[in-house]
Symmetry: C2
Subunit: 288 residues, 2 copies
């Protein structure tokens, strides 16, 4: 029963031998194996182990209904984008991280409605289509949108100044697979730095900024749900996203428009900013 | 800026390049590397990733001033005993896990005093000596003791029936390096199963029991602090400790004694149980 550095792992692996669900067993044994490898390599002191316990506990304590510090930790370690990459499907638009702010339901909105309830930012019209990988238009698909305001804050971060649901909208594509809505140009922003993940970034001299982006989840039966962003092409930090989520195919121009006819169509004043983002969904079963 | 499964890790590693403290940099990059390897191997779905986030958050939320669920998680994965093994010093008594219940200060007690304030268990006298690796007796060393009662509960787990400090004592060895105290024989017990770690054990059909033991931290200037247990030799689960902490050298007989002279010396009634545990501390600087 005397364990050395390697037989301890063997005993732990063996302890999971009766796990009935094979995937659970695989997950537990794989995580144990990698965790032991990391500890054997790092050879932490007791103090370092206690610091690690304290850090993880603080991450848990910082998480609540409107803040998810473990998602943030996953994000800044590149785990979230790795999971997206693994689950990506080359037949559809590239995915990227969910982020920690998709925690309240987006209000259902009519096509063309504004998701901005503040009226203080740069007006913007976003249009796009949802199609299958084969180009077939997908009417009735849901397009869940959420973004920060022009100061870089999501509604849940500023409940005193933003009504719940500001910057959020759940749209449904028309019969031609089109969606369109009004908003304001989002700002780049720092991820929340007032928690343990902020301390981690500070200790490693990493900046906490994300380039400006609008979050999208597109979903319709028979296709894989897509979680992605449209990134604002000329945003600061477009080349050094704190959460490693930028993909070239997701970078979208937001040019200024003075097109009066289009302004009338969408009910905005000129000048306004204009973005177009087409979404291709991969089928649930990949084509042969 | 387009990351695949491997370049994501490169970008994360590179993001830590300016970390001023070399050890912090080593810890962050090593953990990131092993975490990415685990994720690449497991290829989690989004749902599984969300379950992992939810599990870690629940572990954090379960932790408070009197409960440390992350320590428990470290324990059941064998990480705690691995850290002990790595930090062990062959010149001294073997160490083992701290466990999650060393969270309140042990009350200072006189040699011979009882740490049991309930009077309902099997009386027991524990004696021992603290020496250096070379056998020199260490007077004035602190011996911090904590244990559960005869029902398997620590004071912090049963604040309504156990006074704070029951089962705990901070002793100081006499000029001959000796310590002795009265207590009751501790019981084997399940680690707390009403949290996420309990769910993990249930999902893997692992029992939650630890064999009966008394915790010890021995400390004196010039020597490495020792965190260990004395295990009760005839305890159930001595061969399948849920936290992998048993070492043969730490298993101690607790025989029954009817020695009236000794009973008088220690102020107990016969019959009583008797245990002896000698502690050798390794010097802070290993001898050449």
């Amino acid at each position: 029963m005397d364990f050395d550095e390697h037989t301890t792992l063997e005993a732990v692996m063996d302890s999971f031998r009766n796990t009935p669900d094979p995937r659970t067993k695989q997950i537990l044994t794989t995580l144990a194996r990698h965790a032991h490898a990391a500890v054997r390599e790092l050879r932490p002191t007791h103090d370092e182990w206690e610091q690690a316990i304290g850090f993880l506990t603080a991450v848990g304590h910082k998480s609540d209904d409107t803040r998810q510090e473990f998602v943030l930790l996953s994000d800044v370690l590149g785990i979230s984008t790795l999971v997206e990459t693994i689950n990506g499907d080359a037949h559809g638009t590239e995915g990227t991280v969910l982020g920690p702010f998709h925690m309240v339901e987006s209000p259902e909105r009519e096509l063309g409605e504004s998701i901005d309830q503040l009226g203080t930012g740069t007006p913007c019209v976003v249009t796009g289509t949802v199609t299958g990988a084969d180009g077939v238009v997908l009417g009735g698909a849901t397009v869940d949108i959420w973004q920060c305001d022009e100061n870089g804050f999501y509604d849940v971060q500023r409940p005193e100044t933003q009504p719940r649901g500001n910057g959020r909208g759940l749209f449904r594509t028309d019969e031609n697979g089109r969606f369109w809505f009004r908003t304001v140009v989002p700002s780049h922003y720092p991820i929340p730095t007032d928690g343990p993940v902020g301390e981690l970034l500070a200790a490693s001299r990493r900046h906490p900024y994300r380039p400006a982006h609008i979050h999208v989840i597109a979903e319709t039966p028979g296709y894989k749900t897509l979680t992605t962003h449209m990134f604002v092409a000329d945003s600061p930090y477009i080349d050094s996203d704190a959460v490693f989520a930028v993909k070239e195919s997701l970078v979208v121009d937001f040019p200024e428009s003075r097109d009066q006819a289009e302004a009338d169509d969408y009910g905005v004043e000129i000048p306004f900013r204009r973005a177009h983002f087409d979404i291709r969904l991969a089928p649930e079963e990949a084509p042969e």
